[in-house]
């Protein structure tokens, strides 16, 4: 029994050491500059991972900007506003969103979302917001924005259900205290619930970020796979998880593979830190009861 429990520890240790060992070549050659170089040139053995870091960060940030208001809005609606009967159905539906596999999201994104973006949404964005430099031609539909949108849909359920959980953990007496002062329902939610749960909500947002950082398949299918750093959100980009997914099988020599594994190692470490921080914040509000969704 103890052995089995320790085996979990062994597995994580194994994964960690493998990743470090197999990325030694590029760690030795480039050091920390690996993450600041923007040239990804396998032919000449010159590897800079900045475009992928940029792509992962930007697509995740877009996802958060879209997902957080919606997720909190849904959580507020389900917990505080909606009639009893709807609560179960809506909660089930958001849970279903979480159950859809990444590749199915990708499939839908490629054949439904991208054409909609290309034909209807992007031209509108270019016309109205083109002056910001964020939306410009050429417009193929795929690119950073598409990746951000599909990521938003994917991280929405986890932010929403965790927010619901921390909101439910706020004692009823707080709600009553605000109402008894003569507050409207929204004021009661704002002062009595959201304010008390804000640490946990931040935690759930960070957890959503952690999920977005490591997401692979759906992003790979719509991000465009072009290692460039540009301001234009409609241009194709590349993420850390996507470059590994796309190029790992073709990585012919050890240096190439080491570079990709080093990117994987970085992803591994960042997600550990982000997820750890998130769990700490959520735990602080719900006092030890582990969140049921991950």
């Amino acid at each position: 029994m103890v052995l089995c429990a320790l085996s979990i520890f062994a597995i994580v240790a194994l994964i960690f050491t493998e990743l470090i060992l197999r990325s030694q070549l590029t760690i030795a050659k480039f050091g920390i500059r690996f993450f600041f170089g923007s040239a990804w040139d396998p032919v000449n053995n010159n590897f800079g991972a900045l475009p992928f870091v940029y792509g992962t960060l930007v697509s995740s940030i877009i996802a958060l900007i879209i997902a957080v208001p919606l997720a909190v809005g849904v959580a507020v609606f389900i917990t505080e506003m909606c009639p009893r009967m709807l609560r179960g159905i809506l909660a089930f539906l958001t849970e279903l969103l979480a159950a859809i596999p990444s590749v199915v999201y990708g499939l839908w994104a490629v054949f439904v979302l991208v054409p909609i973006l290309r034909e209807h949404v992007d031209p509108l964005l270019i016309k109205v917001l083109g002056w910001t430099g964020l939306f410009a031609e050429p417009n193929f539909g795929i690119g950073m924005l598409a990746a951000g949108i599909i990521l938003a849909i994917m991280i929405l359920p986890i932010i929403s259900s965790l927010t619901r959980e921390v909101m439910s953990a706020v004692p009823h007496s707080q709600r009553e205290a605000v109402l008894a002062l003569g507050a409207t329902r929204w004021e009661m939610i704002r002062l009595g619930v959201l304010r008390n749960a804000r640490i946990g909500i931040v935690g759930s947002i960070i957890l959503g970020l952690g999920r977005a950082l490591g997401e692979t398949m759906a992003v790979t299918m719509v991000i465009g796979n072009s290692p460039q750093i540009v301001k234009n959100l409609l241009a194709p980009g590349y993420s850390m998880a996507s470059v590994i997914a796309n190029e790992f099988s073709e990585a012919s020599d050890d240096m190439y593979r080491s570079a990709l594994i080093e990117i994987g190692l970085a992803l591994f470490l960042v997600t550990i830190v982000v997820n750890g921080l998130a769990r700490l914040l959520v735990w602080a509000v719900t006092r030890g009861a582990p969140p049921r969704s991950a």
């Binding site: 002062l181 003569g182 507050a183 304010r195 008390n196």
Partner: protein, 252 residues
């Protein structure tokens, strides 16, 4: 200044449970009125009908008339307005843990649009003095959170918070039942001082407390108001046998 409360044919339900049956009474202004009775008799429900908190329960239903001062609270005004004019202190102290002491007391006024620093400072100090808490917290008003105080202090903070919006009536639902005897005594002294300015309705299962602070007392049993008279009469010469049984400890 406090106003009187007139209740006519009040009935309340939780779903199919008929919690209050045909309550009629007149609570005098600027006095303390105690409501006593065994657990589940409806006294808390009654008090929650006075500031329309009862209807926050989705299964709740109310019929009848409750007139506070000149206003029928169920037909003339919105629940928000009612609760603004009637303060409530709960059984367990519930200060806002994410706000400082100052912000706790000022919260009611801020909700209603009063942001002027001088006004708030003045009101916060006055409310804390009225709640006999000022001297204990005046040094840490903005530094300490509402939840960092002791139980008795928290309850006085809640009283200050309720007083800050200058209510006409103050409802107290077993305000000292979660507190130690020393804090309880302080709260009772407080009620004594406050009743000259406000109309106070206090629910209590502690008969000695009712005898100490209230001019008038009402005895509830199984959702009905059995007897309502001067405190002295209720405790020395009750008119109804059921009241007498409760007072002498035969049940409850």
């Amino acid at each position: 200044m406090g106003v009187g409360i007139k209740v006519e044919n009040l009935n309340a339900w939780y779903g199919t449970n008929h919690a209050l049956l045909d309550i009629n009474l007149h609570i005098p202004a600027q006095e303390a009125t105690a409501l006593i009775g065994p657990s589940g008799c409806g006294k808390s429900t009654f008090v929650r009908c006075l500031n329309r908190m009862h209807e926050t329960n989705p299964l709740a239903k109310v019929t009848g008339k409750v007139q506070i001062g000149e206003i029928d609270i169920y037909s003339d005004v919105s629940p928000v307005e009612v609760r603004r004019r009637i303060g409530m202190v709960f059984q367990r102290p519930n200060p806002f843990p994410t706000m400082s002491i100052y912000d706790n007391v000022a919260s009611g006024l801020r909700l209603n649009g009063f942001g002027n620093r001088r006004v708030l400072d003045e009101v916060v100090e006055r409310s804390l003095r009225n709640a006999a808490l000022w001297d204990e917290v005046k040094a840490d008003l903005k530094k300490k959170s509402g939840a960092s105080l002791s139980g008795g202090q928290q309850q006085r903070l809640c009283i200050a918070r309720a007083l800050a919006v200058d209510p006409e009536v103050l409802l107290m639902d077993e305000p000292a039942s979660a507190l130690d005897p020393v804090s309880t005594a302080k709260i009772e002294d407080l009620i004594f001082q406050l009743k000259s300015q406000y109309t106070i309705v206090i629910v209590t299962h502690n008969m000695q407390q009712a005898a100490r602070v209230a001019e008038r007392t009402g005895f509830f049993l199984n959702g009905k108001l059995v007897e309502f008279d001067s405190t002295h009469k209720i405790f020395t010469n009750p008119g109804d046998k059921r009241t007498e049984d409760y007072i002498t400890g035969r049940f409850g």
